[in-house]
């Protein structure tokens, strides 16, 4: 080993804690990158594998009740490989609990080809000799149902006992939710039951009929084009809607989850590496300054700029490499755990954990790049040091006029002497001041982000259910009801406000974009729904035109005043042009809202409703839950709870990293401040010799830091806002239809975060106060430089 390298090693070992902290930051960044991106990749592969083994359908079609023959006609397209006519219907079931969960019955064929079930326990029901059902595993587990148990299906008010023969997983219901509106799986109250087609036809009184089709295509087929063709051909033959697998709810949600993972996997490590390189820059540029004389000697001895820069660059690279090795190892272990967690969460039966060399490579290269660049940037300081420096005693810092002195002389003359000393001190070493300020700003931004993250969920729930939707219960009916239903309800329950709504599926087209939406028609005078545009202005339901939630509007590219096209099987396929009178805020889910009058103009439906929303302090759920025509009853607290429960793997892990970020901020603060004190031991010692008391010196430090803190807070606020916007885009950018996290930071968050920063600062100063106390000025003054 070259002697210079030996010196480097001793430098590192001499300040283990400082360098160790940087290494840990890099470790965390890389571990996050490797683990999250591997998890996303593992998920993708597991999913693709699962789909191909279980023949996941390419197209999904909903029909009104039609003869099976009609659906079988789909097989005539040369692009189509297989077609399966199915019945899908939502009913309630008595599973031995007080409350009847909704069960979606899906027909299967005994020789099942498409969307083949994965049997976890038991066997697929036989076609003859038994009335069997296969239940989705998660639903059975939540409801304590085992193979061999009997459950009662409630159809048209009658009970039909069936035997559970199997617990299964299905590629179609990895994420088992009712529709895109449900958003989050509630496996206790919603499940899937698979029943052989003939039996289901019998139960539903649909002999020879079906209402759904799944289709697989031959390889290389343009599914979009085919979909349009089929839609055209089947107009008037009962086709309600048709989607490709990209739009299939379960698949779409998992894809979103994977995409979110991928975004987070980039954003989080980038942040950590960015911070690491900042700290490295600070450490090395300080080291270079402290080594000024040594560098002069080495240059005088004949070392070149290049050799000396390389020396400091090596330090940065060693930190990068050690951090990368740790991070990659940790990331690999974490990747296994996280993949396991995610596969469990989605009940994906397949399990294969790979370490992808590509991620390791990218991680290593970016760690070296980040560290290397900041190392080079800091090591540039070497060039400015002349070999002759070694010949001179430490150069006196030039006494510069402070900015205050130059620009605000009136203020300057009013400063006390010790404030002048503070201001002079700052302007004499602006770089140190800038670093301290940057440290505070960064810390503030990170903490602000953490505080925001912790409050976001409450904001969302408060806004959505406290202001925008103020009903206590929302009831959906299985079959549409007339206006007398609200009168009926009012007789049974004490409900100050009851408002009916009519919800119908539409296809919304705007330019190139097309999307299926549920349009909810409300009374124009609704008291339980409140709309506001993105600027926060109240918006009322227009008599002509519709309102779109911002998530939906963004994903379609629609703006206020745009004219969109609405069509539906209910309108007989005819499409209508309607103006969007406003884009409204909606934090959870997305939707299209219109007045009952406007709905009537579109569909001709008048006086029929699919649900009601109401306010009531009664236990509405308990009273109505098992009523025949009720599809679901949601209480506002239920909704809020389900959403709160969700936040899920991503937000939890993100918050964890953010907490680390807060700690990180603290260490930055501590580092910058204590470094600045250490550098000035001599200066403080001189002041002591001049007759300054220790508290006076300490006051000097406090004032200087107070100014840096104030400046840092001012700069940190927009920085924090920027981080919030970027991170929120990363988390929700791909799911505008699902969530909208307002990137608005509450004023209280600014104060809380500022309070924390100031608290950290005080802790730091207390720790440093001890140093000042111990300062042995004689020794500091006599100590030799090197």
């Amino acid at each position: 080993m070259r002697t210079l390298d030996r010196r480097l090693l001793r430098t590192i070992l001499g300040a283990k804690a400082q360098y160790g902290a940087v290494v840990i930051i890099i470790c965390i960044g890389l571990a996050a990158w490797i683990s999250i991106s591997s998890t996303a990749e593992n998920m993708s592969t597991a999913l693709a594998e699962y789909y191909s083994q279980h023949q996941f359908a390419d197209l999904f079609a909903d029909f009104t009740q039609v003869p099976v023959n009609t659906i079988d006609d789909l097989a005539k397209y040369k692009e189509v490989e297989m077609v399966e006519a199915r019945i899908i219907t939502d009913i309630r079931a008595d599973v031995g609990r007080e409350f009847y969960p909704t069960l979606r019955l899906v027909s299967i064929r005994h020789e099942q080809e498409i969307n083949r079930l994965y049997v976890q326990a038991g066997r697929i029901p036989a076609t003859a000799g038994e009335r069997g059902i296969a239940l989705l595993n998660v639903f059975a587990r939540e409801n304590n149902i085992a193979v061999g148990d009997k459950i009662d299906l409630i159809i048209r008010g009658e009970l039909f006992p069936v035997t559970v023969t199997a617990l299964v997983d299905s590629p179609e219901y990895i994420y088992a939710i009712k529709d895109i509106k449900g958003m989050l799986p509630d496996n206790l109250n919603f499940g899937i039951g698979f029943i052989n087609l003939p039996l289901l036809q019998e139960l539903m009184a649909m002999p020879g009929q079906a209402n759904n089709a799944v289709i697989t295509l031959r390889p290389g087929v343009d599914e979009r084009a085919l979909l349009e063709e089929i839609k055209e051909d089947f107009k008037g033959r009962g086709l309600k809607s048709m989607i490709t697998k990209e739009d299939q709810v379960s698949h779409a949600l998992i894809e979103l989850e994977i995409q979110q993972l991928q975004r987070v996997s980039k954003a989080v490590p980038a942040m950590f590496l960015g911070i690491a390189s900042l700290v490295i820059y600070m450490l090395i540029s300080r080291l270079v300054r402290a080594d000024r004389i040594s560098i002069g000697i080495l240059k005088a001895t004949g070392y070149s700029n290049f050799e000396l820069m390389e020396h400091y660059l090596k330090l940065a690279l060693i930190l990068g490499i050690v951090g990368a090795i740790g991070g990659i190892t940790g990331g690999y272990i974490l990747a296994g755990l996280m993949t396991q967690l995610m596969l469990d969460y989605f009940h994906l039966p397949l399990m294969e954990i790979n370490l992808y060399f590509g991620f390791v490579f990218v991680g290593l290269v970016s760690a070296l790049l980040f560290c290397g660049l900041s190392g080079i940037w800091a090591a540039r300081g070497v060039i400015g040091i002349a070999p002759a420096e070694a010949m001179r005693p430490k150069a006196q810092l030039l006494g510069k006029k402070s900015l205050v002195e130059k620009w605000a002389p009136a203020v300057w003359t009013r400063c006390t002497f010790s404030w002048k000393l503070v201001l002079r001190g700052i302007s004499r070493n602006r770089r140190r001041f800038v670093l301290a300020t940057a440290g505070v700003a960064l810390t503030y931004a990170l903490i602000l982000f953490s505080v925001y993250m912790f409050s976001i969920w409450n904001i969302v729930v408060d806004q959505q259910f406290g202001r925008l939707e103020t009903y206590d219960y929302a009831i959906s009916f299985l079959e549409p009801v007339g206006s007398d239903a609200t009168v009926d309800l009012r007789r049974q329950v004490h409900a100050p406000i009851i408002e009916p709504f009519l919800e119908l599926p539409f296809e919304l087209t705007y330019g190139w974009h097309r999307q299926s939406v549920l349009a909810r028609a409300l009374p124009r005078t609704s008291q339980l729904y409140c709309f506001e545009d993105q600027e926060g202005n109240l918006v009322s339901l227009p008599s002509r035109g519709v309102l779109l939630s911002q998530g939906l509007a963004n994903s379609l590219g629609v703006k206020r005043g745009s004219v969109v096209e609405l069509s539906s099987y209910i309108t007989g396929g005819q499409s209508y042009l309607v103006p969007v009178t406003a884009v409204v805020a909606q934090y959870l889910g997305s939707g299209l809202y219109l007045s009952l009058k406007q709905m009537e103009r579109l569909t001709g439906q008048k006086g029929t409703f699919t649900g009601v929303v109401l306010t009531s302090s009664d236990d509405v759920k308990g009273m109505f839950q098992n009523m025949a025509n009720i599809e679901s009853i949601c209480s506002r607290t239920d909704l809020a709870d389900t959403f709160s429960e969700y936040m899920g793997v991503i937000i939890t892990s993100a918050s964890f990293m953010i907490c680390l970020g807060g700690l990180l901020g603290f260490s930055i603060l501590y580092n910058t401040t204590s470094v600045s004190i250490a550098e000035r031991e001599r200066e403080f010692s001189s002041l002591r010799v001049l007759g300054y008391f220790k508290p006076e010196i300490f006051r000097l430090i406090i004032r200087e830091n107070a100014i840096a803190t104030a400046a840092g807070l001012i700069i940190g606020a927009p920085l924090g806002k920027g981080i919030v916007v970027i991170m929120m885009n990363a988390v929700t950018g791909s799911t505008p239809e699902l969530f909208y996290f307002p990137a608005t930071i509450k004023p209280s968050a600014y104060f809380i975060a500022a309070g924390l920063v100031i608290g950290f600062m005080i802790l730091t100063l207390l720790a440093i106060g001890r140093k000042v106390n111990r300062l042995d000025f004689l020794q500091a003054l006599s100590s030799r430089l090197n």
């Binding site: 030996r6 004949g302 070392y303 090197n786």
Partner: protein, 236 residues
């Protein structure tokens, strides 16, 4: 003694600019340094001694004038050539010994020997200047005189043609100072190195082959000392 010119300064001047203030540290200075001699440059503080030495050692460039080393004008050298010049031809000894605190005595010397092709073995040099028991000590474990010896060893071990000392005894007590001066003479004799010592201490001039006096950036005297005395006999 053969009078072969090793280095010659021709009308060298150096002006420092501090904002609007100009400091003329050296004014139109010419000087020849001969191979194998031991020169003492004398002058009060601020007279331009360090400036002169820096220019000789390729650490700084003159404002005007030429500096010829073995016939080559080092003022025309680019940074790389200048670095190579310092690396191969020059050994520096500083007033504050300036050793690397995290390296041992031996390592401090090796830091220099690793740079050149034909160095003197680090241990041999440390032996010859009486530090054979201190090879693996860190600077903080050495006395000032011992540290300065290590610094001299560091300069000598590169086997340079030109050994430059800027107040090498400035921080040492009398006896240690004398020992160091004797050592420099010994190196001058043993290794045939050309030695330039800068000092404000007039007494040291007695041991020199030649004495150059500087005042306010100008050479006011340049005389050959016909009877240099051994360092041990200097008193101040």
């Amino acid at each position: 003694m053969s009078k072969e010119v090793l280095l010659s300064l021709n009308s060298v001047s150096k002006t420092y600019e501090l904002g609007e203030v100009k400091v003329e540290a050296l004014k139109d200075t010419s000087l020849d340094i001969y191979k194998g001699e031991l020169i003492v440059i004398l002058g009060p503080s601020g007279s331009g001694k360090t400036t002169l030495l820096n220019i000789i050692g390729g650490m700084d460039r003159p404002t005007t004038g030429r500096v010829l080393y073995r016939g080559k004008d080092i003022t025309l050298f680019n940074d790389k050539e200048l670095t190579l010049y310092r690396r191969r031809e020059v050994g520096f000894i500083f007033q504050l010994y300036n050793l690397m605190s995290t390296l041992t005595a031996r390592e401090n010397v090796e830091l220099a020997t690793e740079l050149v092709e034909n160095p003197l073995p680090a241990e041999q040099v440390l032996f010859s200047i009486g530090l054979k028991d201190r090879l693996d000590h860190f600077p903080s474990q050495l006395s000032g005189g011992e540290q300065q010896r290590v610094a001299i060893a560091r300069a000598v071990a590169k086997n340079p043609g030109l050994l430059l000392g800027d107040e090498p005894t400035g921080a040492l007590d009398y006896e240690t100072g004398i020992q160091i001066l004797a050592l420099l003479r010994k190196i001058n004799v043993d290794y045939g190195a050309t030695v330039v010592i800068i000092t404000h201490n007039v007494a040291i001039a007695h041991m020199a082959d030649r004495v150059v006096r500087l005042r306010s950036g100008e050479i006011v005297e340049d005389r050959v000392n016909l009877e240099p005395i051994p360092a041990e006999r200097i008193v101040w």
